[in-house]
Symmetry: C3
Subunit: 261 residues, 3 copies
């Protein structure tokens, strides 16, 4: 295996993330999200807080028009019904035709084999990034998530793996970063991972290097989580506070708080 | 064009809005909402805060029974799928049969031509009010939203146009009011416009003059937004605070804070 | 009618609820929820706050796999569409095959006869608990909710009735408890009852006595509501604060605050 960390100094990443955040706020990219109904409202508010503009329809009659007028696409598999599967196919085809980047979030593929099988079909269609947690990675990759298995999966599938956990990892075939920002309450708010995937899509809309975009999104989310925890009494107020924090965070704060290696 | 502001002193509107708010709280009208899944939870909580009683089913087997036992109807086109289109047809027919007022919210018709076409079909069915933003108005009316185009559209379609923006406008064919209340964070919370449309429906349930009902709803929302901003740290806590503020607002506060011309 | 309160000292219930809460936190049971899109996000966050792990898919292709790997099931009838009806049938069959307990929440059956008819079909399939409010009980039972009608309904249908209201009641055919905890804002937050039903399912996952599980869930919810009201300015901040309070509440607090007779 090629050594990770080889062709970029990860010390530059916080500054790069700050620059991506500035572009997000300037360009206000449109992000179309196929996501589950549990996650829709929180995801939309997190995108708005970051500076992006969300849309969420899955209707076959119009999803192509929405994707074609967007800057990036999220395909989240939570709630895996026939309508969303069809919507995913149409949306991905539209994104490919327009060369728009898209993110796959294979939610809970560890719980149901048909969902995992569908996720593997979508991996083959070339998402720029797959964001998921360790249990989901294991179900798809057939191996525990380690630095080595994550980098190998990313290289073999030619995508970026953005792995959420106590330590987040972002890897393409040659580069890897580990992010230690975040707060334990992030695991106690439903759709936090889904919102993270939407932020990756938003960053992809303004940054063509998918690995850098992924690191930036994970960093924004982790730093916002740390700031939110100070103002929250528990996971309920935390869910509102992380939206506030993401809305307020600036590049300087990202750089000052980043724990990226 | 007939001059707006002609047949009512708009100075009376805050007092009228206060009276409509009192009736809302007394009668607790039932408002059935066909709305998108992004907006459902926030819309339901905003209606409850205002004093109304929401229901949200779109199932063809029962939507007629729900509409028939409601006092007003909202048809919101966000998420424009076959099931919701059918539900809209059944619900509007039931509302017409019972002479219930209904509100159309043509969400994001500027993004997809099929949705705009469907919105035009629904305009022809006679909503009492259409609430929308400037981009949506332009897509439907084929002209920029100005005092003149809004009044003309309202007159030609025999409905009230309730236009949200930095300054809100409410116009029927002969009357127009401009409302300067509100806060910039309202544009950073998803479904804020959808909730505004639901409040219009709630006011229509207790006020037969659709223009006055629209002004009252826009004023309640704008004043609640101003109060909420004082207690919020950003758009996340603002979304909760505007529910608190709408729940607490009274007629005196509406009158004291109204900036209606 | 057999006297309620006969075979257990209800004075033991707070201690029993504290014990069930400890087991919830230790075992973190998986609760699969078929629930309406208005309620999904709040329900998921309430389950996470209590210590449970929610899933929410209704897709026919995978719901059986999700239920089979869960510890309890919730079937909530808000939004009563063909897809959810089919999902309910598959999920209940899977729960029965695995001997998993399930809860029925017949939301708003007082508003639409077809929904009430479907609820009656589901009652015949043997839920461990039915959680509902007084209007919904009257629609199903054909009688006002009184101590006597509730106990009789529970005995005849061989289930526990968990009735929400200013005073909550939990009854099986021989036992009844009344709970006076709670706060008026609980009725102003959409999906509060739905979340209560999900908590009953979570408690059933760790307590085989369905009546005790129901009392524990209603007590946790009522106590969390009381605590939340202290930190809230209205129903919007209350919805976040009750998640915080449920996350923080411990057995000692349950015992100290319980008003159970």
């Amino acid at each position: 295996m090629q050594a990770p960390h080889s062709d970029l100094s990860n010390g530059d990443l916080p500054r790069i993330a700050a620059d991506i955040l500035a572009r997000l706020r300037e360009h206000r990219p449109r992000v179309h999200c196929i996501t589950n109904s549990v996650a829709q409202n929180f995801t939309a508010n997190m995108l708005l807080a970051a500076g992006a503009s969300p849309s969420m329809t899955i209707a076959r009659e119009e999803i192509v028009a929405f994707v074609e007028s967007s800057d990036a696409l999220l395909v989240n598999l939570g709630t895996f019904d026939a309508e969303r599967r069809e919507a995913a196919g149409l949306a991905i085809a539209a994104a490919q035709a327009k060369k728009l980047p898209w993110v796959l979030d294979p939610v809970l593929v560890d719980r149901a084999p048909p969902r995992a099988a569908f996720a593997r079909e979508l991996v083959a269609k070339g998402p720029a990034v797959m964001r998921l947690n360790r249990a989901e990675f294991s179900a798809l990759a057939g191996a525990e998530a380690t630095d080595e298995t994550v980098v190998r999966y990313a290289r073999d599938r030619k995508l970026v793996v953005a792995l959420s956990g106590e330590i987040d990892l972002a890897a393409d075939g040659t580069r890897m970063a580990a992010l230690a920002n975040g707060h334990e309450w992030m695991a106690r708010v439903t759709a936090m991972g889904c919102a993270g995937s939407a932020l990756v899509a938003a960053c992809l809309a303004v940054e063509s290097d998918a690995w850098r975009a992924s690191v930036a999104a994970l960093l924004m989310l982790g730093v916002a989580g740390e700031i939110a925890a100070v103002n929250a009494r528990g996971p309920g107020s935390f869910a509102a506070a992380i939206i506030d924090a993401l809305h307020a965070v600036d590049g300087e704060t990202l750089i000052a708080r980043a724990r990226v290696t």
